[in-house]
Amino acid sequence: MDILNALVLLFNYVIVPSVAYGSQLALGALGVTLVYGTLRFANFAHGELMAFGAMITILCTWWLQSLGVSIAPLPTALLALGPAIAVTVAIVLITDRTIYRFYREKRSAPAIYIIASIGVMFVMNGLIRFIIGPGDRAFGDGQRYIIKARDFRDMTGLSEGLGIKTSQGITVLVTLFLVAALFWFLQKTRTGKSMRAYADNRDLALLSGINPERVVMYSWIITAVLATIAGALYGLDKSFKPFTYLQLLLPLFAAAIVGGIGKPVGAIVGGFVIAFSEVTITYPYKKFLTYLMPEGMQPSGLVQLLSTDYKFAVSFIILVIVLMVRPTGIMKGKTV
């Protein structure tokens, strides 16, 4: 019984939240890595892109809710994703036409791209706050929980509860589906193959007749789709506040680099590595050990490696260690 309790405790506070958070990070990091692979620069505006996608999703959700459209028990936001993706794709293509293409034609150095993307980040950040305001926005509806912690306790008779939110379940399922679709696209379709070829060796790809502007366009479209979905899921699962997406930038980059930048598989692995480390390192194991240890040997302290204040520091430390020990990342991506 104690072992079961300990396991449920771990699931409730560590595994379920990490899996959901890891999925959100993985989707975001995939976008970062795709842009890096084909356009060769670290896109600092990616966090804001996610916020932008989430914002359009929220606006559409509100509109649908006002019309009385509902797909309960699922959140209406899922329906709103379609139009939101369309708008986000449009904004990304406009940014590329007006800003990045200029530097591409001049064959600018990556550092210049990065500065340009920081500019895009600020403009987009301002735009978002201008449209939806800086405050908290609630847009979740439908059934909030798959299992409520209290119901789980009553059902199983255990003293620990396990709560799973609908948004967590949706996040994991959607991520699985998207990742599968992306890999199918990159491995099996002609466009996907040309993208990979362009990412691996740009000159060789150009020689074999691949149209670079098309590859760039497809990368942006996929990035926008992933960013919108990741942003909306993050907002649905946690809460939507424009500034929090700026804070996501560090774990996102850490995930992409730890996994091996430019490698889609790496982004997914990196996302989960970062999410699990953030949560497992800052979780206090006192209660967990209390269940497992024999009477009298139970810890009196919290058994917490790092205070939760240092959550973001964890991704930073991992980032630094990876850059020092294995700069190409787990999946042998490009050196940064």
Binding site: G163, Y234, S239, E278, K286, K287, Q304, T308
Partner: protein, 395 residues
């Protein structure tokens, strides 16, 4: 000629002579510029309302009037504030100082100017717990309760309800830290146990990790000293999602309709405290303020009026506008025993004092000083019932 002028100036500065029809100068030092410049005009007007009332009664020290001299405290610049206070005391020769407003400049003026010069200073709005322990030789008073007070009230509320073991999370700033500390000390003193006191940052999207740490302690109750539209709300959301806590204890920053509207019945049973509590005096003062064009629900206006009234009454009790006389009498006229004096009854108080009686000034905010010259204030104890905050009692 020059000498006589100088002599008169000195005499006026000391304000020791008690000629009828003379003016008593009182310094009003508030942040008329700076971050709280929108609040200070009403605070100054409230204090001056009390001065006017005392002057108009004709009872004050046999018919004297109080002349307020306004100076800027800037709220944030201690150097400017102390220079201005210095000018009030040496150049204007004020009998006492009303102010200052923000805790930082108030401490600077008290330590560097008012106390060394032996001038009473009474602040209507400085709430930092640090000001309780400054070496003021009994010259510093305040009519706004210290932030530490709420921690004590909350601790006694919990003790009365038989709650013994609490996990605390606070917003990572001076307000949160101060409150968490004062609560922990007071709660320990009444036999309670704070299993963890952890900070949370505002403005994050997700607080599940923080809640995990709080829940690991095994405490049943979670005290949230944060903001209802910020991290505090996130902490409660994550607690409910994970099933970690269902019994919450909330401080003033968490009390608001938006919280109960968001969580509804999930918040049932939550206990909270918030400063205030409508007293009779507050209602009387509200109508008075309305008539004088003062924002009646503005922050610290009642406290400002009370501070002004206390100064006038202390002068009367001393029998002269003597600086040390004011100091020795301030505590006496504010506390029991004596005739109770509400807002608008300054004339009555002056009369009682003139005839040798004793007064107990109650005023707009139920003034009662403790040993170090600060009010205890009143707090409302709230409980969430059926998804709504309800007032249980007033402390």
């Amino acid at each position: 000629m020059k000498k006589t002028l100088l002599a008169t100036a000195i005499v006026a500065a000391m304000t020791t002579s008690a000629l009828a029809g003379e003016e008593v100068k009182v310094g009003v030092i508030l942040g008329f510029t700076g971050p709280i410049e929108s609040l200070t005009p009403d605070m100054a007007a409230s204090a001056e309302l009390a001065f006017k009332e005392a002057s108009a009664s004709g009872q004050l020290l046999g018919g004297k009037t109080i002349k307020p001299i306004r100076k800027d405290s800037t709220c944030i610049d201690a150097a400017v504030a102390t220079a201005n206070a210095e000018a009030l005391i040496t150049a204007e020769g004020v009998a006492a100082i009303f102010g200052a407003d923000c805790s930082g400049v108030t401490g600077a003026i008290a330590n560097n100017v008012a106390v060394p010069n032996g001038v009473v200073m009474i602040s209507p709005s400085a709430t930092s717990p640090g000001l309780s322990t400054i070496k003021d030789n009994g010259f510093f008073f305040r009519t706004a309760p210290s932030d530490a007070r709420q921690g004590q009230v909350l601790a006694s509320v919990l003790q009365r309800r038989g709650i013994k073991d609490v996990a605390v999370t606070f917003t990572n700033n001076d307000y949160g830290k101060g409150l968490a500390n004062s609560f922990a000390n007071a709660f320990k003193a009444v036999g309670g146990k704070v299993s963890i006191s952890a900070a949370h940052e505002d403005g994050k999207a997700d607080y599940s990790a923080e809640v995990g740490a709080l829940a690991a302690t095994g405490s049943k109750y979670l005290a949230v000293f944060g903001y209802l539209d910020q991290g505090g709300k996130g902490i409660i959301q994550a607690s409910i999602d994970a099933g970690a806590f269902s019994d919450f204890i909330l401080a003033d920053g968490m009390i608001g309709e938006s919280l109960t509207k968001h969580f509804g019945k999930d918040l049932n049973g939550a206990i909270g405290t918030v400063p205030g509590g409508k007293t009779e005096g507050a209602q009387v003062f509200a109508t008075m303020a309305d008539k004088s064009g003062i924002k009646k629900d503005g922050p610290y206006v009642g406290e400002s009026y009370d501070a002004g009234a206390l100064l006038a009454l202390a002068m009367q009790a001393a029998g002269s506008a003597n600086r040390s006389g004011i100091q020795t009498n301030l505590m006496k006229i504010a506390n029991a025993p004596g005739t109770k004096i509400g807002p608008g009854e300054i004339a009555k108080g002056l009369k009682v004092l003139a005839s040798g009686g004793d007064v107990d000034y109650v005023g707009a905010t139920n003034v009662e000083f403790n040993k170090v010259g600060e009010v205890l204030g009143s707090f409302k104890e709230l409980e969430v019932k059926n998804g709504k905050f309800e007032t249980i009692k007033i402390h």
